[in-house]
Symmetry: C2
Subunit: 381 residues, 2 copies
Amino acid sequence: MAGIVLDLFFVLLAAKLGEELFRRIGQPVIAGEILAGVLIGPSVLGLVDLGEAVELFAELGVVFLLFWVGLENRIGKLHEVGPRALFVGAGGIIVPFVAGLGFGLAMGWEFTTCFFLGAALAATSTAITSATMLELGMIDSKPARIVLGAAVVDDVLALILLAIAAGMAEGQIDVTSISVTVALSLGFVAFFALGGTRLMAARPQILKDPKFADSPLLPAVLLCLGLAALAAQVGLAAIIGAFLAGLMVAETKEHHPVEEEIAPLYAFFPPFFFAYIGMQLDLGELADGETLLILAAVTLIAVVAKLIGAYMGTRGLDSRESRIIAVGMVPRGEVGIVAAGIGLAADVITPQIFAVVVAMSLITTLIVPAVLPRLTRAGDD
Amino acid sequence: MAGIVLDLFFVLLAAKLGEELFRRIGQPVIAGEILAGVLIGPSVLGLVDLGEAVELFAELGVVFLLFWVGLENRIGKLHEVGPRALFVGAGGIIVPFVAGLGFGLAMGWEFTTCFFLGAALAATSTAITSATMLELGMIDSKPARIVLGAAVVDDVLALILLAIAAGMAEGQIDVTSISVTVALSLGFVAFFALGGTRLMAARPQILKDPKFADSPLLPAVLLCLGLAALAAQVGLAAIIGAFLAGLMVAETKEHHPVEEEIAPLYAFFPPFFFAYIGMQLDLGELADGETLLILAAVTLIAVVAKLIGAYMGTRGLDSRESRIIAVGMVPRGEVGIVAAGIGLAADVITPQIFAVVVAMSLITTLIVPAVLPRLTRAGDD
């Protein structure tokens, strides 16, 4: 246990020193935290191992991050952008998926491998874009809401893709079970996004009803962890549950000091997530010419295909908003890594392609904090 | 990962429901959290396994609990009670140790086993008494300070006992290495209790100097995790480091809103610790007449010997304060369990005696929240 506490200390310290350095040189904070993770991770200094504890804190980091994002939004405003988010999400999935699949086939790889590559390229990491938008103070702007809505759409579509891919790896695709999973997921999102938020708006006191609740903090945190775990049970990402929990609690903001109480948890956990993304990079596996070429190609395809797909979905919006949205969809972050990880575990992706996808996820992730501030500064909000 | 988040959710939910029930029936909250742990643990419902993640959260729970206790104290006031704490701590260790050793020998057990039993009986869990005193609003009273000081003394003495016991289990006792460990530990405590608090009092702004620190929260948390890990490295309990970190940060309280920022972490983590103590109880192992008899005897000896030993150390104080201090030293909590766990791992303690020590630790732990409120109500503060 003592060693694990030391690991957690090192990860948090590294992330904060990375932030410190990047603040001082005027660079985006999240990039500093991720690159600090690369530095302390197995492939450079090897200060901290990729153990279960660090992974758990990374998972809780992204859970509390999306909980916070939900808390900073309101369901009423998300409704307005619903149809738009659907187009952006669908476009942002389909084009990169087809591009990734096509690239793999052109390389002569096995079909299942190509399908996984497509799924990894189709992924979107809301976490990175959300964190950047939080930093820029634009988390409740229209583009932010569209990206968030699109991410929910994405996650449901990615679920289908990954279920098909996993079925392929096992040799059979169970259409019934995939349909059930998708129906369950949609039901889960609809139930809490509509029913849950309405309940909270009607009865905000519910968070203070229990006698153990001197403040709404622990009921809110229990809701976050509970919906995160439940989302994972129905096949969605845990962060979708955390986001919905945040949206529910947001309906009580006028009644409780819930944001200031959750802020310390939001400050404590997410740095583990950002550092962990960096720690997963395997520089050794990337250190040959062919792999670097593949990485360059995959990253280029990942960026261009996502920009095109998402941009197509923004038709009708003004061009500044469209650009922000399209760039906001580019990061693959943890979602791309998870998709590739499933493929690696199922033995349909080689360690080489896994390393490429991780590196691509990291590079696409670093693009947003680097580019988004410029796009937002380019015009008025 | 999803299963682990679900486990954490269940543990936190159970602890809070236990608290809820006990609040409603007017019983001590901590007992409710511990008994909820018994209920969901392997020996009753088996809802949650004793995995590494739950253990880690329990460890962080007690770390943040003692950090908070440090934060609610001031080094200046602890100094005043120093000599008194030394007597209470020494008395509270020596009498139970001799009693436990003697009981084991009378039972005809092996000497090493008896030594471990003595060490487990000599343990003191500050966490439980501190939490109860926090609940009663008396954490900065004189008896509370004496118990806290005595706990630090205890931990150093227990370290010596456990090092000797572990040496016995391995067949040789390395006097040099034990001396070095003890010297290191005393140096560690002195360095941070004296130097660390002085530094903080002189330069409270140090917690806000880093650019990543919009508030003192993360520097304070890093100090807590860092000193907890360092304490474990020098051979002390991690909580001693956390307590010292709390004392250091307490010196800056006039300058920063540090308590209100750490309060949410203090609300979130410690319930895992209390529930975990309950989860470790193995009712199956206790379910025969002989074991229950041994348990009754060991628990009686544990309570009486600690009361006598600690009470002897309080000579000169008024009788009400003496009673509070003596009762406050009774809980063995996690410390007794850890001592027995080391013995179990080293194969010098049988599963039967381990189960007895865990049950004894739990029973002595429940005595404090049950009895302490009555003692404090008996007179004025």
